[in-house]
């Protein structure tokens, strides 16, 4: 029999329904897997007692016929979601020991649908990073290794704890947040599926903010269907978030397996960037062929402002973060380092509490909003953001969905690119425009590269058209037949 930890969410829900196993059993196996995989450093806080309690309660509910969308499914929660009674740190030392008295809307929605929470998984500090090497609680290590080397590789970021946990089969799914690619890039480099829904689809209430106009929650899981199930549970209008959108959440599962005959798929020429690995190109072409075979029509398109996206993003996101992180001042909660006066207390507190990358972005953001620079940076970036969004609007007059690679390469070795923030920022070159335009984007595994590491394809949809992503995603998933798993030998040996 397959190990319970290898099941997809859909298969586990089926097994639970048929009474083949209980949530308590499913959860116990996952708790064991979490303990065995501590070498990954995926979790900041494990909550096994809470998980077992929730699993037992779920089994009771199931007996009485009340079955939620995630009934009894063990999930890892990104530590950016505030969880009532469970420490929430955003992977920052400044919030070490902070225990919210409230539950984020998204995690509450999931609890309402029967989720079992295994614990809080790590991330880049305040979700700022693409490699999960800026966490105040240590690097997260990918379970994947390249053929013939045992170097530690990145799980992607910022949802690196989520991607590591899901790909290592220690959680069935995980929540993520995506500000510039933080769901899709980690999913891509760990061989799993991740979707960032349209901005406004999921509530941001109770999610520690990085860049409010870009942040969006979404799921990471091991199949397109699992992502559909999870997003169904997470999404929905929330009066407590003025930027969430009052639209019905469609039945995402219903479109899985539907024909894409005649669907128009855009291939943006600007995404063929210099220095892109030849394998990425090969994979992209493979994706195009799979969709052609399924009856889709391939259309060459242009998104002319793509080249400005990264620069725009690295003005707007730091600008918003410089303001969003002002509340971490040591006055009301979190850690404080006393100085001789108020200003010194602020300085010492924030110098001790924030890591280098967070400080770098606060400084950049403060700079671009300063008097005399606002027009040249912030305002100009806002204008370009509008142009980037318009590129997509124009494109969607011709096509229904856009296909690109998710990342310019596979997972790199921890330590690489670390000396040069600009190189690191390039990781997000294909994902950032999607956030700037507020569109839904999905990454799903396509193949392994020469080193035996996963590569992902990205689908970009019209606003609030996640359904097309799920439909096309399920076609690609079937065609790719990606079944590779990380060899967990080294993880469990520790």
């Amino acid at each position: 029999m397959t190990k319970l930890t290898d099941l997809t969410i859909a298969a586990a829900l089926n097994g639970l329904n048929k009474g083949e196993f209980t949530s308590a059993e499913l959860t116990r196996d996952h708790i064991g897997a979490v303990e065995n995989a501590r070498a990954l450093n995926a979790f900041i806080v494990e909550t096994p007692e809470l998980a077992m309690e929730q699993a037992t309660a779920s089994d009771e509910r199931r007996k009485s016929g009340r079955v939620g969308l995630l009934e009894g499914i063990p999930i890892a929660m990104k530590d950016l979601f505030c969880t009532k009674g469970v420490q929430t740190t955003a992977a920052s030392k400044i919030l070490k020991g902070f225990t919210p008295t409230y539950e984020s809307t998204v995690s509450q929605n999931m609890l309402d649908q029967g989720m079992v929470m295994l614990g809080k998984v790590s991330l880049d500090e305040f979700a700022m990073g693409s490699a999960n090497i800026t966490s105040g609680y240590g690097n997260v290590i990918s379970p994947w290794r390249a053929n013939g080397d045992d170097k530690q590789r990145i799980p992607g970021g910022s949802s690196g704890g989520s991607s590591a946990a899901v790909s290592a089969r220690i959680a069935m799914g995980a929540t993520g947040t995506d500000t510039g690619g933080s769901i899709r890039q980690p999913a891509s480099v760990t061989g799993i599926v991740g979707i960032k829904p349209t901005y406004g689809r999921c509530s941001r209430w109770g999610v520690v903010a990085f860049a409010s106009s870009l942040d969006q929650a979404g799921p990471l899981a091991r199949s397109v269907e699992d992502c559909a199930i999870m997003l169904q549970a997470m999404a929905g209008w929330d009066q407590k978030d003025s930027t969430s959108v009052n639209m019905p959440v469609p039945d995402f599962k219903a479109v899985l397996g539907q024909s894409i005959k005649g669907l128009k798929v855009g291939i943006p020429k600007e995404y063929r960037v210099d220095g892109m690995a030849p394998e990425i190109d090969k994979m992209w072409q493979q994706g195009i062929d799979w969709l052609k075979d399924a009856g889709a029509e391939i259309v060459d398109i242009s998104l002319p402002h793509t080249k400005y996206a990264l620069a725009t993003y690295y003005i707007l996101a730091p600008a918003e973060c410089s303001s969003n992180l002002a509340r971490y001042d040591g006055m009301r909660y979190g850690n404080r380092v006393e100085g001789k006066d108020l200003n010194e207390t602020y300085e010492l507190t924030r110098a001790a509490g924030f890591g280098d990358e967070v400080q770098r972005r606060i400084l950049m953001g403060t700079y671009v909003l300063s008097a005399g620079y606002y027009d040249a940076y912030y305002l100009k970036a806002q204008k370009i953001r509008a142009l980037i969004a318009r590129d997509f609007t124009e494109a969607y007059k011709q096509v229904d969905v856009i296909l690109t690679p998710t990342t310019p390469g596979s997972a790199f070795v921890i330590g690489e690119k670390q000396d040069d923030p600009l190189k690191m920022y390039l990781e997000d070159v294909f994902t950032v425009p999607v956030n700037l335009a507020g569109l839904p984007g999905m990454s799903l595994p396509a193949m392994l590269d020469d080193k035996g590491l996963p590569l992902g394809l990205q689908l970009i949809g019209r606003p609030f058209d996640e359904e097309t992503l799920f439909k096309v995603g399920s076609v690609l998933e079937k065609a790719a037949g990606f079944t590779a798993k990380p060899d967990m030998g080294w993880v469990n040996a520790k």
């Binding site: 109770g206 903010a209 003025s242 918003e320 410089s322 001042d329 300063s370």
Partner: protein
């Protein structure tokens, strides 16, 4: 004195003129705060009206209170101002312990209300139009309590997030009198609209004063902004101090520096707080947690139809319908409850002018002395009306009425009852009065002879005697008439 002259300040080297603009922070009357559901009420145990949003907890988001927007629009309409259908909430970033999020949500580039006009009433009965530059909505900060502990500062967040309207005037004010009239008028308008109670003691109406001086008619000089002036009296003192300081500075060869100053109510001086160079860079940018505020013509219209009669409309009506002077009217309408009191007094076809005199001179004089507001008046409008009725139907004289009024204040009794019990009813029986006058003439024959010999002034003596005999109760008209007849020997 010509009209222009009253604005002139005499310096050592010639004439000067003040140029003043005010920034008024008015707390919006609303049950809950601008972006959270916590109570906006004044007072309460420290930190008892604080939500997760107010405390700036991680992941918390603001949600705009639509009622506060309505209140701002209403106020804008009351200021004859343009209502902007598109406005934007921005973040004003600075660190302070009583500002939990590290930024204040305010409106900078796109305020909800634009240009408007307020007509102010001056003591000489003239009016002037003062321009309003804008009105915008913003959150209040919390309160730092420095006096609770020898080393520590405590923070009370009850006020954090409460909605304020910042109303910015154009630099149109030229004197202390105008500033005072402007604040009073603005306060009256907001009280009429029920959008701000105008209570300066509780800090519900706060004022920053922008002031510069110039030679009459010259270009604007460099201005300073004086903060922390929280009563009209202090504002007038701050203006006077700051104008003299600037004039003396310039006349002695110095230069006014653009800076923020603080009013020190202990020493009655302004003090430099921070210069332009030290000014905060607030790094305003649109708050990404909030959508731009968009209002439709329909929504604005729906608010417009709810507007009550405003002070200027009331003033016009009082002058027209009651025939009152501009000054009397401006006093009566200065506070909504006072105007309502007057209208209740003048009801039942009482003489409008007499009613105005009684309300302004007697009632307000008495309240002033007792330090009371019109709402706490010991005499109701009906009672004062009753007193006026007694004068009007000749039951008592105006002089006796003042005594009755004093007794009413003390006892709270109705005028009729007092007049009845104390026997203060006017003697209008001609026969009785004639008898008294005959007695007086008989007892004062020498004076009668003098009077008849040409000493007209003695007439007052006889009136006095008659009043004395009747304890002031005799109808003065009848006394006059009879005395004249009798003294003339008729």
């Amino acid at each position: 004195m010509t009209k222009e002259n009253k604005y002139i300040l005499q310096g050592q080297t010639g004439d000067w003129e003040m140029v003043i603009g005010l920034e008024i922070h008015a707390q919006v009357i609303s049950n809950s705060k601008l972006f959270s559901g916590s109570q906006a009420e004044f007072g309460g145990e420290p930190n008892s009206h604080v939500s997760l949003v107010d405390a700036g907890m991680p992941g918390m988001l603001p949600v705009l209170n639509a009622y506060c927007v309505d209140q701002a629009v209403k106020t804008g309409l009351g200021l004859n101002a343009q209502i902007n259908k598109y406005s934007v909430f921005e973040r004003k970033n600075y660190f302070y312990p009583d500002l939990p999020t590290g930024y204040q949500i305010s409106q900078s580039q796109y305020p909800v209300v634009g240009n408007g006009i307020v007509e102010i009433d001056l003591e000489d009965g003239t009016t002037r139009e003062i321009g309003i530059e804008r009105l915008h909505l913003e959150q209040d900060a919390g309160k730092s309590l420095h006096d609770q502990h020898p080393q520590k500062t405590y923070v009370d967040l009850n006020r954090a997030g409460v909605a304020l309207m910042e109303i910015v005037s154009k630099p149109d004010l030229r004197s202390g009198e105008e500033v005072s009239a402007y604040i009073k008028k603005l306060r009256a308008i907001m009280q009429y609209l029920d959008t701000c109670d105008g209570n300066m003691e509780q800090g519900n109406l706060r004022c920053d004063v922008n002031l510069s001086v110039r030679r009459p008619g010259a270009e604007y000089g460099t201005r300073t902004e004086t903060k922390n002036v929280n009563s009209i009296r202090n504002i007038l003192m701050a203006i006077e101090y700051e104008a003299s300081r600037q004039i003396e500075l310039i006349e002695s060869g110095g230069k006014v520096v653009q800076e923020t100053r603080l009013w020190d109510p202990g020493q009655n001086i302004t003090r430099s707080m921070r210069s332009k160079e030290e000014a905060h860079d607030y790094r305003y940018f649109p708050d990404p947690d909030l959508l731009p505020l968009e209002l439709s013509d329909d929504e604005i219209e729906q608010i417009r139809v709810t507007l009550p009669e405003l002070p200027d409309q009331k003033k016009k009506r009082f002058m027209q319908d009651y025939g009152l002077s501009a000054y009397d009217t401006s006093v009566l309408i200065s506070e909504k409850p006072l105007a309502a009191f007057y209208e209740a007094v003048v009801a039942n076809k009482r003489d409008a002018k007499r009613a105005a005199n009684w309300v302004i001179s007697e009632l307000l004089g008495m309240l002033n002395k007792q330090g009371k507001e019109i709402e706490d008046s010991p005499i109701s409008a009906e009672q004062l009306g009753g007193l006026i009725d007694l004068i009007q139907d000749n039951t008592i004289s105006g002089k006796i009425a003042k005594d009755v009024f004093s007794i009413m204040v003390e006892t709270g009794d109705d005028a009729v009852k007092i007049v009845e019990e104390k026997g203060l009813k006017q003697i209008t029986d001609t026969g009785a009065i004639e008898k008294i006058i005959d007695d007086i003439i008989a007892a004062n024959l020498a004076q009668v002879a003098d009077y008849r010999g040409g000493k007209d002034k003695l007439f007052g003596f006889f009136v006095g005697q008659a009043m004395k005999q009747t304890q002031g109760k005799a109808n003065p008209d009848i006394i006059n008439e009879l005395l004249k007849k009798k003294l003339a020997g008729e």
